[in-house]
Amino acid sequence: MHHSPRALLALVALVACAFSLSASDPAKLPPASAAKIDFEADIKPLLAAHCVKCHGADKPKGGLRLDSRAAALEGGNTGPALKVGKSAESKLIHAVAGLDPETAMPPGDKRLSAAEVGKLRAWIDQGAKWDGTIAGPAATKLTHWSFQPIARPAVPAGSAHPVDAFVHARLAKEGLKPSPEADRATLVRRLSLDLTGLPPTPGEVDAFVNDKSADAYTKLVDRLLASPHYGERWARHWLDAARYADSDGYEKDTGRPFAWRFRDWVIRALNDDVPFDRFTVEQLAGDLLPNATTEQKIATGFHRNTLTNKEGGVDQEEFRVAAVVDRVSTTGQVWLGLTVGCAQCHDHKYDPLSQREFYQLFAFFNSDREADIAAPLPGEADRLKKEQAAFDAELAKLKAAVEKAKADKVLAADLKKLEAAVVAHQKKAPSATKAMTIAAGTARPTHVMIRGDFLRKGVEVKPGTPSVLPKSTGATRLELARWLVSAENPLTARVTANWVWAKFFGRGLVSTPEDFGIQGAKPSHPELLDWLAHALRDGGWSLKKFHKLIVTSATYKQSSAVSAEALKRDPLNVLLARQQRMRLEAELMRDSALAASGLLHREVGGPSIRPPQPPGISELTYANSARWVESTGPERYKRGLYIWFQRTSPYPLLTTFDAPDSNVCTVRRERSNTPLQALTLLNDSVFVEAAQALAKRVQLDPTAKGDEARVARAFRHALGRAPVPAETERLVKLLAQFRTLAEADPKEAAKLPGPHAPPGARAPEAAAWVALCRALLNLDEFVTRE
């Protein structure tokens, strides 16, 4: 088999890693670290990563186990590995220092750094504190925080809002003070972007700024939560997790013309505030609900977003298995916050999750089949009925003609033509709009796959949930889904609360929303997280209620301004003494520009769109197979979440601004800051067109007269707030510069306003305004939610 050369190498490596020890000169050992060592943070990962694989419970090399303190002290064939308090005399240290190549550990090229050895030394010198075992499920279950039942922490006194009570108590402990509330213009923009993904219009800003009623803020929150754009905004977050795309992926990357039905389902479900437990069950097992509706079946599209490989010569079973693996990994990631996918080929390195348990989860999904179902759109049934009647009538006519021809004994060639017409017509049978769903298929046994290889079957396993978590009773996908959102499962509520929180603060209370396991970050505010998890679950899993809870806190409403001192003290804003500025997501960047310019087409839902794309992008797909036929109607100005996502050649604007490649589940987007982003904002056709339209808008605005007023109006369309005098001054100066430069070559300048030249305006004047608006759309503040 093709593994043989590697297997041979592996064997050689195995033989070489016998753990024997001989002392080397202690003076040459790397010095012990001076820091106070924390076993969990500093030592356990080292042992887990470098030692326990060969020196664990399973056939320990050299008879040495390094998976518990007692075992390490007992030692292997050559005696104790540790001498507590005396690192220089500990064989473990001599081995990992690697002074003697014969006994150097770990084997191969994976040596520890001097700093890591120093940490191990310090740990031994400080008493080799070590609770529990490594990779032992029972021991980890007892200690790791996220597997424990969700606590019901008491709300600290001192603040009216529970969120603030927890945050302020912590700040007080650290000797810090929260920031003052942000000004109203910032607040309304922040809230609008967070809840609907669209910037407020200047009118909406004014309405809120001037609303003196006591409940002005709550009214604003309620209005935004009720907006149909709320569903679009939060659907996009969810679609990242669902690795939504409009094509198969892999070489052929065939289009999925009905993928959008799932996207529409998500938007609608969020707008209807479908409780998160139902939201979960319908997406994972809507097809298995009693009397499942078409909508519930469409919901199962969640797991149809896996890739499909139609490359010639592939083994279909290999990629069926790959899709099921992805369904397991994604489910683990999204609801449990665990990297269960790591256990596909071997026991999880850090978390109490064995390879066998991975395949027990796999078994829940292994018998499913992919079903493309007829899912008529509202009103479509009538259309179909009419079309079917017309189709049937025509078919009957054609068939009759054939019969008549036969009876009349016409020429064979003529008869053939008539028969061909019947066949051709039959291909035109009317069909309903489809949806991609998951359905239960024929039962298929599940085996552990040795090293994750679908051709190497191990023992058979039955559906089951990981033993570290409370048991699930059932064996169906529906029961798995219900178990995920059950009161006993400590993870889903915490993971979901944290995921939501991260969208409002730029960082989760657990800063690794994708990993609540041993290697993940510990919560910065563990009591607050548990309190929020309860609030979410006890609030009937209503996401809207949960959002409202968070955004009405003073913690959320704080200013995001930061002093150099505060930045030094808490650069990542872990303690929440301020709000966090965040660069907008890719789709929002485009949405904001279109909104500011007035070009945005606000229609909610529908098929994916293909706005103008630079030449040469679709050509990157396999044999230039993905054609990009530009949308020509108003839909080309729809929001960014509707842009057709071709996996092997994604819309460049999206990837430039860190939209995920949608091949795997993403629960946290990167926020990079690159020169290509600058070029995109400066020159990508959608931003240029937005600048042109915004320029036209302010030039034709009868309520804005004179440069200063117009500059201020454009500024407000872009940023919501009014400019400060220094800003107005600089912009007016810039406008003058542009006028001079445009006057120098009026013929050239006439090209700048494009199709949005205001009627009657002189070309250099119109050009100067476009250039000015383009500068506004390139401000850091424009692309940032403050």
Binding site: V314, A775, T784
Partner: protein
């Protein structure tokens, strides 16, 4: 001075010297006040050069990727035995547990090789008659005949070669290198991609940054027209207007920074300045008019391109595109670009092998050899690693897809294939590894793709086990959990 620190100071100095008005100076003052907060970690340029783990041999890499799997049997690994066995079946013991993409193993027979092989250079490296020009630099290249992989479909295979894993979402080689080392280039991206031919199976996933920030993704350049997407200003907006724009944006961002203190604003200012510099640097880069005629001729930019009725290689115009890409790769290396990727698709010769492979070789042979000669003449080869890669090899059996008796090509073959490397600390003039007499399996010095990656990182002064990125609770590497530096490759 620490390199990132230096970059920060530089950007701040630029800010001072280029900001011509009072508002800009106010912004600058606030940046300087924020000095304590703008630590190295917050430095505006994540691509600032960083020190490797140990002294490197290579500073830059040109990675020529021939997508689709060129036939090693017809180019690099002579197997005279195949002509003896032509038309015969192979023993079942050999094919028993083997999966093929298209080949029907019950009826498949050995396909002989029409190529003539000759020895080249002082080292006597045997190469096919399709690569005469490459033969002139045989003493500079190290040919590996013992590569093997576990992927045998194109997209997973390309992911493995370019990212070290058949799974999606991993960073490509160039991303890892620029993440680890930054870039010397001040006006161009650190990782550039050039394409010729039809689209590759892997598309953009071959040069994506995976879970690394998009800062480290390959930037696609085109060899004509607008060299980088969105590089050109909109029609009617002059260079002077663009200058005024960038300056005003910087000033206005400075005002906001003074009010709100977020260091991210400083990073954005610096990104805009690099974008602005790139607007003049990139067109200068792709402008070949300053190259002398001798150079252009050596690369064969304006060679005649024979007609070939086959879409697989991308159709007419690829000779010029590929040659220009090779020359551009040298120009990029001269300007400090860390990693240049050249893709050409496709070499997937399931059929028509004896017409299409010569055509592709005619396209690639001259410019690739010229690139090596040119780099050497300019003293750049020692520090520039040149790679010739693909995802797997091709079968000694003829491909009889659907049981067809009309056999004119070869199927995918992962058990052995050939690649070569030159320059950048590679020991040239040698052949590494052996395959059996029918080119079925490796019999000496097996090298896995993870080993190749470990060796490439080693040449750049990086320990492949230490170049890691924490993602989903795990420290990921280009070499995943495997890889060994192949010492024989090193000079």
């Amino acid at each position: 001075m620490h390199p990132t620190r230096e970059a920060l100071e530089r950007s701040r100095r630029d800010f001072l010297t280029t900001s011509a008005n009072g508002v800009g100076l106010v912004a600058l003052a606030s940046l300087l006040e924020g000095d304590g907060s703008l630590r190295a970690a917050d430095a505006p340029n994540p691509l600032a050069p960083k020190a490797p783990h140990f002294a490197p041999k290579a500073k830059n890499c040109i990675c020529i990727y021939l997508e689709g799997a060129p036939s090693q049997i017809d180019l690099f690994d002579p197997k005279p035995k195949l002509n003896e066995l032509h038309g015969q079946k192979l023993p079942d013991s050999l094919t028993k547990n083997v999966r093929f993409a298209f080949l029907q193993k019950d009826t498949a027979t050995v396909l002989g090789c029409k190529r003539k092989f000759a020895k080249h250079g002082q080292c006597g490296m045997e190469l096919s008659d399709l690569l005469p020009k490459l033969g002139t630099v045989a003493d500079d290249i190290c040919l590996i005949r013992s590569m093997h992989t576990e992927a045998f479909n194109h997209h997973p295979g390309q992911l493995l070669m370019n990212t070290g894993s058949t799974m999606f979402g991993r960073p490509s080689m160039g991303s890892w290198l620029t993440y680890g080392l930054g870039s010397e280039s001040k006006n161009l991206p650190g990782y550039v991609v050039l394409n010729a031919g039809r689209g590759t199976s892997g598309g953009t996933s071959n040069w994506g940054s995976g879970f690394l920030p998009s800062t480290f993704a390959g930037v696609l350049f085109r060899n004509q027209g607008e060299p980088v997407l969105n590089l050109n200003n909109p029609a009617g907006l002059s260079a002077a207007m663009q200058g005024a724009t960038v300056e005003a944006v910087r000033d206005l961002n400075g005002i906001r920074h003074a009010a709100i203190g977020d260091p991210e604003i400083a990073a954005r200012i610096s990104a805009y300045e690099l974008a602005y510099r790139m607007q003049s640097a990139a067109p200068e880069l792709i402008d070949l008019s300053k190259e002398d005629k001798k150079t252009l001729d050596e690369y064969g930019i304006d060679r005649p391109e024979p007609d070939l009725k086959a879409a697989r290689g991308g159709g007419k115009g690829q000779f010029r595109a590929f040659a220009a890409n090779c020359l551009l790769a040298r120009r990029m290396v001269e300007r400090g670009v860390r990693f240049v990727s050249l893709f050409h698709a496709s070499w997937d010769h399931h059929s028509n092998l004896d017409n299409e492979l010569p055509h592709n070789c005619l396209m690639a042979d001259q410019p690739v050899a010229a690139l090596i000669t040119d780099l050497k003449r300019r003293g750049l080869l020692d520090s520039t690693l040149v790679l010739w890669l693909s995802e797997f090899g091709r079968t000694p059996l003829g491909e009889n897809r659907g049981g067809s008796p009309n056999v004119t090509g070869r199927d995918h073959h992962p058990f052995c294939f050939s690649l070569w490397a030159a320059g950048g600390g590679i020991k040239g003039g040698q052949v590494i590894g052996k395959t059996d007499e029918i080119g079925w399996s490796v019999v000496e010095d097996p090298i896995h793709i993870n080993d190749l990656h470990a060796t490439i990182l080693h040449l750049f002064g990086m320990d492949h086990t230490k170049l890691t990125y924490r993602f989903q609770g795990r420290d990921f590497r280009l070499t995943d959990v495997a890889g060994k530096v192949v010492k024989k490759l090193l000079a």
